[in-house]
Symmetry: C2
Subunit: 866 residues, 2 copies
């Protein structure tokens, strides 16, 4: 054995695991080891890919290694590669360490040529099958290896069908297909100026290079970008002896799950298509039967499959998704991997596996992707509206969404900038990936639960209804149960029920189910971070509490100035020229604020409530200049206009220039606290937060103001005073600021804007999407905390703050507080709590527990996905 | 002697210097020590002030100490305080460690009452003088100690003058003044409900408290704010035996300088007013004579004064400003201090003192306030225009300015927000200080070179023309040599020549004089920081070079897209929908840019030139939407609109989204470099700078792009590639970014905006002025670098950058690069160069040398001012 080995048989030990062999390769090797029926073959490692990637040249020695392994395979199966009489055929399949369904290329039936196809026909006694296999090879090879326009071969097939009057492929006979082969070879020659390559090894080596190349297609790059997969891990290539599901009625192909991937129920689940090759299932072109149908037509293969699935789940201690083929009644397993599943399914399976003793509670916690829980925390269709559905399809990916209809991916991306869209397609392909990312939901005419649309949508946590009956598409129009829908017409889909509605439908908030509650109760044992919610109303506060929030980390007060009775008074305040006029208006706003605070304190009894004083610039309370009612207001609007309001007259700057505003708010808080204490006999835990502090002197003065007013109103009521940390300067000077603060709360939305110099309101439209598409940035820093930059500032602030004030409480209340990777970072730098929107509280609880387990060095728990 | 001593006689040693005794107190003590004629008296220390400041209560024991020192003074001068027969009279004068001319209060003639005034009248044989002294006491005491409306006493004086038909105070006789005393006492009783206090010690102690209180008047706070004087140093109080310049023709009072404070020439310079008290000179009410006039009327006192001035300059080794009084022919010195002087005078005096062997070159360098040099680097009136002056006054403070006329300080502040203003007053008072800060220049009807307006304007480095003949003021109108000027009418003043022009007058750029050149040549020996200039045109580059710039630190390229021939092409580029359209337009812009670069390279031959690629958002090149010519442009303007353009699509973001723009610029630079090399035989030192980098990946790609284009155009031409550091993230990630950069240049304008979250375009109008007035901030962070916050980020960036790349060149090109305190900071953190506007290059050279000397521990050099 030479020093650098790039190829390993499925049945021989290898020095590496998933990273070296890819997900498909390791699965095939492990199934082989378990004694399960796997066709012969071998894996070309990701090392070979990396070597190839340097100069787009297959590494030295690879060709010989491949030849040697082909020879071994020939011995094993008693056929010869390239033989004209009884040819060994192989497929070449990509397989990265991380699953990227449908993103890279596969080529089947390698080893056929004009002579071998005759041998195959003779040996199988099935010339139709033989020619069909050959024409598929020419098509796949032509498209994938040689880049021939993917419309050319299907056009020729369609022309032949028209000529023969055939309605489907099945109506074409052996002679038709032989003619088609000739026509395909003509296309190949026309396009490439040479004949389709006859040499089997030549075919194979060129196919390997093409699969490597497919790692770098734009759609694969977009997919990796959206899923946070590094660009440099590369793919392995599997060379697998062909088995045929399209040999007749005792053959077929399918996909099976060890549990239901939509619900998590412990039941065999899957789909099967008789007399078909695997690609037919995945592409969603023909609608398959439930896998149970196999019990009747091929009972032995069915029982073998059930047994294999049990073995695999035991082996992997996780839900598996298995591709299989039955050739002449014999079962072959072609792939096993951790099943993509809905969040509900992941939860149920994890909780039940704990109950079954298969995994530990900690493994269950670590296994759930917190981001996936978002699916369960999306609104659903109000059950009262369920009857009005216009049509029904498969419930391919749960959640509900409304949006304007779009018919192609480009339009989806374009129109999504203006509002939510639903992508409506006959079926989706990997080329639609950017449109699926942009859309709120996906609706398809064809395809089943394992079609491209369904698998990708579930992965993204987006609603999808697939195979919708009563839906058909024409140029620019969707006909849906009697409605003609054009681009932009609004529909609503419910991927949990499969129902489709015309127009916008009322949605209801989600609730936690029993599995979810169980898992979350386990998480609370492990996490160190407290989880609070951002909530501005008693309703939101109550919901947050239901979801397990341990306080309110951000109660914004600006909405309390809106509303029919309030806004005119607020505007009067803003229009007043002098302080007495402002005070008079504020006096009238005080009772409203007080009532709001009383409601929130009551809802959060016993838990802390952080109230942020008025933050937005005053012009946000005035109409647009062209809508102003009088000249006085127009003049004020002009005066208040700022060229960069984000960096303007807001936050504590308002509080220092117009102290009467904050005085009123503090008074309202104090009075509300007294009233709630009187009513319930328990004082609320009040935390008063000053926003946008950059200088310790700002906070020193505002704290003085706060304490002065508090002493006047509620001298015996406990409370604390702190600040948002949302400016880079506040991070750098945190030590000094901590001398004036009892708590810090990172406002990472604004801190990201200022640290990166990026306006969130503009950036998506201008350069940020370009940066993400072009991979200048790996992730949107407004979604996932920029731990290196913004996080670097946070580390400085935590160190400075705690140096000055070791008891300083520190949290985060930007939207990152509900994002799992960001939560892990917050755990790592020692924050006390995260605060997020009520619906993300469960996600934060789970992510916080995972962060704590990871820190405990819990690497023994297998991570989710795979 | 008790433990805590608060009082020291002028002739006894004290444990502290200027900080303890104040500037006036230490001067009196030191003059006494030199044997110069100083009236008897003592100083109450700043310790007493600080003790007083705590509870607004004179410290325990102070009254007894004062009594003891008064008793000693009584012995010395043979008179008794409060005596009815031959009373000792004293003045109470403030005196902080730092001079604050006219900002705090003084009370004269303490010790007079109804009986003592008769004794004084009898002893001096001058009842008119005695009653005049007494009525002055009642007025000053009433106003300063008891806060009586300052209009009441002058109104009574004016009424009496009307009644007596008197044109001036001098027309009033002894009996008139005795009646005035009665009337003043009536006013006092009416206002305060009690009699004017008769007890001398009571008067004295209350006067001391009032002088302490005057430290905290709004005008004093504003002055300290504008001059960077800490609020907590406080003032000492001097109790000085009265001497009288208003005793008749052998008496008088004046101010003298050891050298000319306007030019620095070595000549006796000053003003003298016969038969007057000191306050008459300083207030500018009567126009005094040159001090040489004394030679005729009191030759002995004149010679004594000349000798004293020589002694004082030798003693202090600096130009002195001396207040004196002559009483019946006897000279008394009342104050000596380092003279306020124009920058030109400071330079000439410093250079000449070096030549005279009085001070070292290093002392000369350290003594010049770099900020003051700004005066010399302001534009002057074009000599060709000098003939058109409408009027002429005293050249009280050099420099020229145009602006709209305003007649009071409040209006000056208000109108200055909209454009430059000239404050026009009969005479200025300390209450006008905020208006003087806001105005571009000051013009007064009355007053001489030592009037309030002149002294303060010189201190601020603002043009001032005082005592303007032919100018008179009425309600809302200034009559100037036949012109009637109303608020907002534009005038131009030249404080260097004293000329006043109606309308705007052409100004010419300044040039360095010989003294300036000499001093700067000395600085270059000491400084470590290189000094470059920000210059965008060959003209600016040439001027910068004249001023000693050692390269261009910031050549902005945006202006190169403006101009009649260019802007339409630039707009065409922006309006193009696709890249080929943009490239076609850019192709036409390239020759313009190339020509611009050639001019700059030629002007800076042998010195480095840092070119910043396009930075501003594209919408800055389009008209306002309402001025757009067609719908296509309006649509593009709407698309390019950003809610926060400061944080938007600009800098390197443009370069990454539209790489063709930067490609064109780099091509133009490379071709210009080749052309200049061909022409002059020397390659320019080209540094290409990418703006607004936040992520190393941005710079990595742009550097690649730069090198690719460069290789195409000028593969053998040396050049470097670097980046602006102007985002907090760039500072935090400097180590990574330094891996891609050959140089860093801090853009502290934008770094201040992002680190502090403050939009420079808006903040002055909204909260920043409020912050400065209210002392939330001590200094405007856009003028003086916020060394704690922004500077903290810079320290991180320097450390990170040098850790990765020890040879990294680091500079600063924000406007702080020309501000002395900021330059000292840049020196301290180890930058390689500062870059500033051409006119600030000399300031930067001096400041850099001072920073280096300060670091060498050159504390032996006496600091400037005093």
């Amino acid at each position: 054995m030479s020093a650098a080995r790039f190829v390993f048989d499925f049945d021989e030990p290898s020095p590496g695991g998933r990273e070296l062999l890819g997900g498909k390769g390791i699965g095939l090797a492990e199934m082989t080891e378990l004694g399960l029926p796997v066709p012969g073959g071998f894996t070309i490692t990701t090392d070979a890919f990396r070597s190839y990637a340097i100069g787009r040249q297959l590494p030295e020695g690879l060709a010989e290694e491949v030849r040697a392994h082909v020879a071994a395979l020939e011995v094993k199966c008693g056929k010869r590669f390239g033989d004209h009489d009884d040819p060994l055929l192989v497929s070449v399949r990509s397989g990265a360490a991380v699953s990227m369904p449908g993103m890279m290329d596969t080529i089947l039936n390698l080893g056929l040529n004009d002579e071998a196809v005759e041998g195959l026909a003779a040996r199988t006694g099935n010339p139709r099958f033989a020619y069909d296999s050959y024409r598929r090879l020419i098509q796949m090879f032509g498209e994938v290896v040689d880049g021939i326009d993917p419309r050319r071969f299907p056009d020729a097939l369609a022309a032949l069908k028209r000529e023969r009057g055939a309605r489907s492929d099945a109506d074409l006979g052996a002679e038709d297909l032989r003619a088609l082969v000739a026509s395909y070879r003509g296309i190949y020659r026309e396009e490439k100026g040479r004949d389709f390559p006859a040499g089997a090894t030549d075919q194979l080596m060129r196919a390997v290079g093409a699969v490597f190349d497919s790692w770098d297609t734009p759609r694969a790059r977009v997919y990796r970008g959206a899923n946070g997969i590094p660009d440099d891990i590369g793919t392995a290539v599997n060379v697998v002896q062909m088995v045929f599901g399209n040999k007749g009625d005792r053959s077929g192909t399918g996909v099976a799950f060890t549990r239901n991937p939509a619900t998590g129920a412990r039941e065999l689940y899957g789909e099967f298509l008789a007399n078909a090759q695997g690609e037919d299932v995945v592409a969603g072109i023909r609608t398959p039967q439930p896998v149970e149908a196999m019990a009747l037509i091929m009972p032995r293969a069915y029982e073998e499959l059930r047994a294999a699935l049990r073995r695999l789940e035991e082996r992997y201690r996780d839900m598996q998704d298995v591709e299989f083929t039955v050739e002449d009644g014999a079962l072959y397993l072609l792939q096993t991997r951790a099943a993509k599943r809905t969040a509900a399914a992941a939860l149920k399976a994890a909780v039940e596996m704990v109950e079954e003793g298969m995994i530990s509670r900690e493994e269950a916690i670590v296994r759930i992707d917190p981001a996936s829980l978002d699916q369960l925390l999306h609104p659903r269709i109000d059950p009262a509206e369920a009857l009005k559905a216009a049509a029904k399809g498969l419930n391919a990916s749960p959640g509900a969404a409304s949006g304007g209809v779009v018919f192609d991916a480009e339009t989806a991306v374009e129109r999504a900038k203006g509002g939510p869209v639903i992508l409506v397609r006959t079926e989706t392909t990997p080329d639609d990936i950017h449109g699926m990312i942009a859309a709120q939901g996906i609706l398809t005419v064809h395809g089943g639960m394992t079609s491209h649309a369904a698998v990708v949508a579930r992965g993204m946590g987006k609603p999808c209804v697939a195979g919708c009956e009563g839906l058909s598409l024409e140029e620019g129009v969707a006909h849906l149960a009697g409605h003609d829908l054009r681009e932009g017409d609004v529909i609503t889909i419910d991927g949990g029920s499969g129902q489709v509605y015309v127009g916008k439908v009322k949605l209801v908030p989600p609730q936690l189910n029993e599995d979810f509650e169980t898992l979350l109760s386990w998480t609370d044992v492990h996490r160190r971070l407290r989880v609070r919610a951002n909530a501005d109303t008693p309703e939101d506060a109550a919901r947050a509490r239901e979801f397990g929030a341990e306080g309110i980390g951000l109660c914004r007060t600006e909405h309390m100035f809106f509303g029919e009775e309030r806004l005119p008074v607020m505007q009067e305040m803003i229009l007043a020229e002098k302080e007495p006029g402002r005070r008079a208006a504020l006096e009238r706003l005080l009772p409203f604020q007080q009532a709001d605070f009383e409601g929130i304190f009551a809802a959060m009894s016993g838990l802390p409530v952080t109230i942020r004083l008025l933050d937005p610039p005053l012009h946000e309370f005035l109409p647009l200049e062209e809508q102003a009612s009088d000249e006085r207001m127009r003049a004020r609007i002009r005066v208040l206009h700022e060229s960069n309001p984000m960096l303007g007259m807001r936050g504590c700057r308002l509080g220092l220039v117009y102290p009467e505003i904050y005085e009123m708010q503090i008074r309202a808080i104090a009075r509300a606290a007294l009233a709630v204490e009187a009513r319930f006999g328990e004082a609320p835990l009040v935390e008063i937060m000053h926003p946008l502090v950059g200088f310790a002197e700002e906070l020193r003065r505002l704290r003085e103001l706060t304490e002065r007013v508090w002493m006047q109103e509620a001298p015996d009521m406990p409370h604390t005073v702190g600040t948002m940390i949302e400016l880079p300067r506040a991070c750098i000077r945190a030590e000094e600021i901590a001398g004036e603060a009892q708590f810090f709360s990172f406002g990472t939305n604004d801190l990201t804007q200022t640290a990166l110099g990026v306006s969130r309101d503009d950036a998506d439209r201008t350069f940020l999407m370009h940066y993400l598409e072009d991979r200048v940035l790996e992730r949107n820093p407004f979604e996932v905390l920029d731990t290196e930059g913004v996080g670097g500032l946070m580390r400085i602030a935590v160190a400075g703050g705690r140096a000055r004030n070791p008891s300083l409480k520190i949290g985060i209340c930007g939207e990152h507080g509900g994002e799992p990777r960001s939560i892990a970072f917050c755990h790592g730098i020692g924050l006390d709590y995260v605060s997020c929107s009520p619906f993300r509280v469960p996600i934060a609880r789970l992510a916080a527990a995972q962060a704590a387990l990871a820190q405990e060095g819990a690497s023994r728990y297998v991570a989710a996905g795979g």
